[in-house]
């Protein structure tokens, strides 16, 4: 997509008027009977979505296990259409997934209880902390001890799992049941597929968006102080990383509502590899050139770019910003910045996945529900061109490159069920239930660990009906769809061992942030270690997979 086409499409973002026009047209068609049976099905589905959207209702406290079970029960329709009651009696399945933030697996348990009651199957659970996920999975693969039938897994691991023939191919009836064509474009194949075969029921779409405090950036006192400090621009939400830096430094020592106020929150502490995404979000606008799909490695050689001027500038930005952030920020991982700081009222800007927007509004743990705004990640006044080795200013203005970090979670069925037809069907039925169109809508409405990933998730009225403020949810969803569809999005490389690359980087970055080594030396160390790892895993294979992940 060309930049101008994208800008034109962005201008067409749904607003109240266009949505109402669309709704009125649909209603008229339905009323006239022009759509026949289809309109009845659609209407029933809309009623169901409206009904589950009210469980428990946005702003009415965090959902509980009873809510999850209720939603699971209400969304059993597609299962009942393809599975007889008690059909899986005697089948025992093992499910491995996360327990991060007391979400993920905990929700799945609730959703699947009615499914278990109906089908007769029994599920046992393996819960993992986020940081333990990669090693547990890698060990199971390497030692041939896959002890689970269903797996919650992110696309970055597809190379490790699907590439080694450990996953079961998705049957056609599942594709139909989950309406696989409803996924947003960037989550369509090759994501979720391997060698042309589909393996993944997508339950999440991932990108880092920019979360900011609307009250901070509309505060007259801060606006005056900003002007008094000699800034020519108006006080407002930063649109570029250069502005983020300036605002963060300015806010150091300022007061807001009688409290110290902070700007951007970095997450320097390692987080099992996942922390690297947060440096990535600072770096993509510098490192991802619109004319080059690659941004982490050179696509033909796998030579790391982590030590090029773009990444080094991003690292330097963190070092420059840290003195203006809370004193203990060196000891903050993304869990801390997201859930213990930003949602608890500390800091005014943070990159994160969609969880922040859900939790801010629909959980008891947040104190900032009404004062959060969202945008795609900030851009940069200039972008580094790896091919020419020069910084460039684009004629179209600042370069934006949303970080599509992780590509979301999915449900995968393991190949070990293939030999048992009943078990195979049961496992896929459970996966299809979790990845169902309506159930997924509830999951993206409420705190779950998952964010919007289907075209049907972007019907703003449904969110408003569930209790979200229109302005809030428009901002939230636009930041996501704007990232997913951005022509210069930075896409996660789906290569084996990716989290080992990230983990190595995290270790070296902590040394850089603590002042033990300078950014360039540290980045060179990361690059050298990455080269070694690429050789260890297999360079030629990695090049092939990296190209495939970028669509080159």
């Amino acid at each position: 997509m060309k930049q101008q086409d994208y800008d034109w499409l962005s201008a067409l973002h749904a607003n109240r008027r266009t949505v109402l026009k669309g709704a009125a047209s649909a209603a008229a068609l339905g009323a006239s009977g022009a759509l026949g049976t289809f309109s009845e099905i659609a209407l029933a589905q809309n009623n169901l979505r409206a009904q589950i959207g009210q469980i428990p209702g946005v702003g009415k406290g965090a959902p509980t296990d009873a809510d999850w079970q209720k939603v699971g029960e209400l969304c059993l329709g597609p299962t009942k259409a393809s599975i007889k009651e008690g059909e899986f009696k005697g089948v025992e399945l093992s499910f491995m997934g996360l327990n991060n933030q007391n979400l993920h697996n905990l929700l799945f348990r609730g959703f699947l209880k009615p499914w278990e009651a109906y089908t007769g199957a029994k599920i046992s659970w393996i819960d993992l902390a986020q940081a333990d996920y990669n090693p547990r999975l890698q060990q199971a693969i390497a030692t041939g001890t896959v002890d689970f039938d269903i797996l919650e897994m992110g696309a970055p691991f597809e190379g490790d799992v699907c590439g080694k023939g450990l996953a079961s191919e998705m049957p056609d009836w599942v594709k139909k049941q989950i309406d696989i064509d409803d996924y947003v474009d960037y989550l369509k194949p090759p994501v979720g597929t391997w060698n042309g075969k589909t393996y993944r029921v997508t339950i999440d779409g991932d990108c880092h968006n920019f979360n900011y405090r609307t009250d901070v950036f509309s505060d007259p006192a801060l606006a005056k102080a900003w002007k008094d400090a000699g800034n020519a621009s108006e006080w407002g939400v930063p649109k570029t990383w250069q502005q983020v830096q300036a605002v963060t430094k300015f806010l150091k020592g300022q007061k807001f509502k009688g409290q110290n106020v902070y700007g951007y929150l970095d997450a320097p502490k390692p987080w099992g590899g996942f922390g690297f995404y947060f440096l990535g979000s600072r770096a993509t606008a510098y490192a991802k050139h619109p004319d080059d799909k690659a941004w982490l490695f050179d696509v033909d050689t796998m030579k790391p770019r982590i030590n090029n001027p773009a990444w080094v500038r991003a690292i330097q930005d963190v070092i420059d910003a840290l003195p203006s952030e809370p004193a203990d920020q060196l000891n903050a991982d993304p869990n801390t910045t997201g859930f213990q700081q930003f949602l608890a009222g500390i800091g005014s800007m943070i990159p994160w996945w969609g969880d922040i927007g859900q939790v801010a509004k629909a959980s008891d743990t947040s104190v900032i529900g009404d004062t959060v705004g969202f945008d795609i990640l900030p851009g940069s006044d200039d972008v580094y061109n790896s091919k020419t080795g020069k910084w460039e200013k684009l004629p179209s203005g600042p370069n934006h490159a949303p970080n599509c970090a992780y590509l979301g979670w999915g449900i995968y069925v393991m190949a070990r069920v293939n030999g048992d037809e009943k078990k195979h069907k049961a496992a896929w039925s459970a996966a299809a239930h979790l990845g169902g169109k309506d159930l997924s809508f509830w999951m993206v409405l409420y705190p779950s660990g998952f964010q919007a990933h289907r075209t049907s998730h972007f019907q703003y009225d449904e969110w408003v009906a569930a209790g979200y403020d229109r302005k809030y949810i428009t901002s939230y969803l636009n930041s996501q769809i704007g990232s997913y569809n951005h022509p210069n999005r930075a896409v996660e490389p789906r290569i084996p061992g990716i989290f080992q690359y990230y983990s190595i980087a995290e270790d070296e970055l902590t040394k850089i942030f603590a002042g033990k080594v300078d950014p360039q030396t540290g980045a060179n160390n990361i690059a050298a270690a990455w080269e070694k790892l690429t050789d260890q895993i297999g360079r030629e294979r990695q090049i092939g997979l990296y190209k495939a992940s970028l669509g080159v």
Binding site: P135, A327, L330
Partner: protein, 372 residues
């Protein structure tokens, strides 16, 4: 008297063990030889197969275990055949030998073997023999040396823990009020899991924003009481947490030693005119040396394994300042899936610990002999 002597002689009389005849001996030796050759052959085939030197081999290591068991049984039977009754006595040792080989010798040999592999779990080729490459990598690994350096600090800090524990033990062995109550209270931290301590202290008590310790520090004039933001502060904070859990253990051992000490010795020192300090330094401390050395060695072994608190609170940061060898090895395994290298690091660390403890034991033996 004569009778009693003969009874005693009877008691100590050892009947000569029956010797095995020549044919049996030959059969026994042949059996042991054949079993040993078979076992060696199976191991050799598997090693050659794993290192890629030959295509023939086993898909996993189970045949090695079976070959070992066959060899062990053949060895036992062979001993009986070659040594007659004395061989039968040796059979009683077999369970212990089995156990030692299974839990000590085999894992060590297997560990050395894994340490010689280039084995990343994501590698499509799987494990590859790399000889001493992992050891060479270790010599250039700044993280490993940094962690070892940190271990020096943590290990030396054990002396501080010991001093505090000794003071508490002396206090609790004295006739003070509510002595039983204090004994229970002082022991409580030992009951806690280090992970719980990480959250209770590291993530709550010492938390920068709302932690009581930070609040108190601000009240006392420390503007930014960030306990984990600077390298030395973080090191001391981790050490303090670990000490809080471990001091009760040292204290209870020392307390037991103090209570076993004969009171007359101290009374004699008093009669000779020794004051409190002299009595402690010249009487109590030397008598307590064997107990002290034992408890210090045990504590140092535990200290060298320090990882859980570090992993949970700082993940080795800031900038590796709190990293321990165990927490670093854990990351090499867990986050980098680098099994070969992680095992090499672990084996070298094990060797270092064995050398260190052997030295300590020898030195302490000499010192104890000199002092006591």
């Amino acid at each position: 008297m004569q009778n009693s002597v003969s009874v005693s002689d009877d008691l100590h009389h050892q009947p000569a063990a029956k010797r095995a005849p020549g044919s049996r001996k030959a059969a026994g030796r042949a059996l042991v030889l054949l079993a040993s050759l078979g076992f060696a052959l199976v191991v050799l085939i598997q090693v050659l197969h794993t290192t890629g030197a030959t295509g023939a081999g086993f898909s996993d290591w189970r045949p090695i275990l079976i070959a070992y068991l066959v060899w062990a049984v053949a060895f036992g039977v062979g001993r009986v055949l070659t040594r007659g009754e004395r061989g039968q006595r040796a059979l009683f040792l077999l369970p212990a030998v089995f156990f030692t080989v299974a839990v000590v010798i085999f894992p060590t040999i297997f560990g050395i073997y894994i340490a010689s592999l280039d084995w990343n779990l994501s590698s499509i080729e799987g494990p590859r023999f790399s000889g001493f490459d992992n050891l060479r990598g270790m010599l250039n690994d700044t993280y490993y040396w940094n962690a070892l350096g940190n271990m020096v600090f943590y290990t030396v800090a054990v002396l501080g823990e010991y001093a505090i524990a000794f003071g508490l033990a002396l206090l609790l062995s004295a006739e003070i009020r509510a002595r039983k109550f204090f004994r229970v209270v002082f022991l409580l931290p030992m009951m806690l899991s280090p992970v719980a301590v990480s959250w209770m202290i590291g993530k709550s008590l010492l938390e920068y924003r709302f932690g009581p310790a930070a609040t108190l520090a601000r009240y006392l004039g420390w503007d930014n009481p960030a306990f984990f933001a600077s390298p030395w502060m973080a090191r001391f904070s981790i050490q303090a947490m670990d000490a809080w859990v471990s001091i009760p253990f040292i204290m209870i051992i020392l307390l037991a030693g103090l209570q076993a000490m004969p009171k007359e010795v101290q009374e004699a020192a008093k009669v000779d005119g020794a004051n409190g300090w002299q009595s402690f330094w010249h009487v109590t401390f030397p008598i307590m040396l064997p107990v002290s050395i034992t408890v210090l060695i045990i504590r140092i072994i535990f200290k060298l394994k320090l990882a859980d608190i570090v992993i949970n609170v700082t993940a080795g940061g800031p900038g590796g300042a709190t990293d321990t060898v165990s927490s670093f090895i854990y990351r090499v395994y867990r986050d980098r899936s680098n099994v070969g290298y992680g095992t090499a690091l672990a084996m070298v660390y094990l060797l270092l610990i064995i050398v260190l403890l052997t030295l300590m034991l020898r030195l302490s033996k000499r010192w104890t002999q000199k002092v006591v």
